[in-house]
Symmetry: C7
């Protein structure tokens, strides 16, 4: 019975996509192929006010696939699942097929 987290300010709740370290046939993949650190945006905050007092909305939205920095982010556990919180300025980009 997990609780829902609504991030504050420009924070973004991300569920990391764990890259398979084995192929379906059970062959171990070399370390390099797991390098892409990506995730799915679960929830975003309302944004932050700039110096003029205007609200700047968060640069990503729920459902986006995002490229994450190698370090940083705050681990959060909600129910059984593990998530990470990032400031939107720390997210590197969005991924598209």
């Amino acid at each position: 019975m997990a609780r829902r987290l609504v991030p504050l300010f420009n924070r973004v709740l991300v569920e990391k996509i764990v890259p398979p370290s084995k192929t379906n046939a059970g062959i171990l993949l070399p370390e390099k192929s797991s390098k892409l650190n990506s995730g799915k945006v679960i929830a975003v905050g309302p944004g932050i006010h700039n110096k003029e007092g205007k609200l700047i909305p968060v640069a990503v939205k729920e459902g986006d696939s995002v490229l994450l920095p190698e370090y940083g982010g705050t681990e959060v556990k909600l129910g059984d699942k593990e998530y990470h919180l990032y400031r939107d300025e720390d997210i590197l980009g969005t991924l598209h097929d």
Copy 2:
């Protein structure tokens, strides 16, 4: 006979929710399950003035359930009870059932 604390600026007074480290039946829970660091907002400050001189109100309100950062916050004792003070910008998000 506890005194009431009214926080200044964008500070937030939080009562931490101590997660049970045993189940009702007395079984010790593994360390991971106590990871969620949450609390209840008891009182909030009036907010801070931005560079333009406008008052930006605090991003959470009395009664909110909040997700707290692992480090930081100032321990405060009022009467018998222990509370913590946070800047609203350090609170990670609000929790909803």
Copy 3:
């Protein structure tokens, strides 16, 4: 014949309230009960100018009971009495019965 100190900018002159470390009956209180670091505001500065040139008055006023941070503040001796100077932004909140 103590001199009167008028603080500059957003500084606040505070007289700390020393919590009794013994009860009236002479029983030593455990360390925890003296944890509340509070004081009484004796004098406040005029405030500071924000980036727009507007004067932002100090957030507390003479006579307020205030909760002080554990560290910081500048010790000042006027006549026989000991006071402390704080920036108003470092004062945690006001205390009310």
Copy 4:
């Protein structure tokens, strides 16, 4: 089947141009000749908002040849290829024949 990365804010996705360390005839070039650290811009972010809330576009565009700083940048692997992400303010200049 590489995914496409759209950088956020003022980030720039760059494919580094690896300088040949041998001539076509197989003669090893001295270390100095490989000093120029250049790349080709693959994608740019939308830019960042300044303090006034105006969007400042990124200073380079897709297809530009750019001179890169010796240190910094974030390695990104998309499909088989290796790229680097830079903030546009860290890119030294554009190269023209």
Copy 5:
């Protein structure tokens, strides 16, 4: 034949008041009584420009008795006399009888 110093920006030229470390009768005073670090303002600068380009005058004026911070300030010798320069923001307050 001392030269006169006109401070620049928000600097304040102060002549420190050396507290007597002996009473008139020659009795050594305990260290604590010399704790008050005060001085007399000899000259002040024109002030500094804020971000809007307005000149913010210095917060103290010639002749003021001021309470000085324990550390900081720049020692200046003009003729035979020793003075100290402080930024007005580092001066703690003004002293009044």
Copy 6:
């Protein structure tokens, strides 16, 4: 066949003037006489936007003789020649005969 570099933002491309360490007659000059660290401006960037969004042009122009700081600057090799990139704010001044 050197490529041309157009600096970004307030960067300045400088060709350093190497002071002769010997006189024409072959007499070694003492170390001190080579102290002046000067160069010639080869290319300048468009400038940077200030907080108001206005473009502030670079403070030096192509062809200027400039006095350079002892440390800093980024070495760049274009074709056979070695250049240095500086932020215009790091250039100390312009030199005139």
Copy 7:
């Protein structure tokens, strides 16, 4: 045949006044009397732009006698003479007889 240096931004070119370490009669002066670190302003830059884009002129002018900080400044040699460059904000004040 010294070249003339025109400082950039708010930089100030100063010729230090070396205090005599001996009296005319050859008597060595104690170290303290050489403490005053003063100089003469040779040239000043045009000033710097504030956040609003207005040019703030340099706070001293050619010919001023100035009091210099004990540390800082950049040594510059023009022809045979040694000068120092300071940001005007680092100059402590002007000296008048």
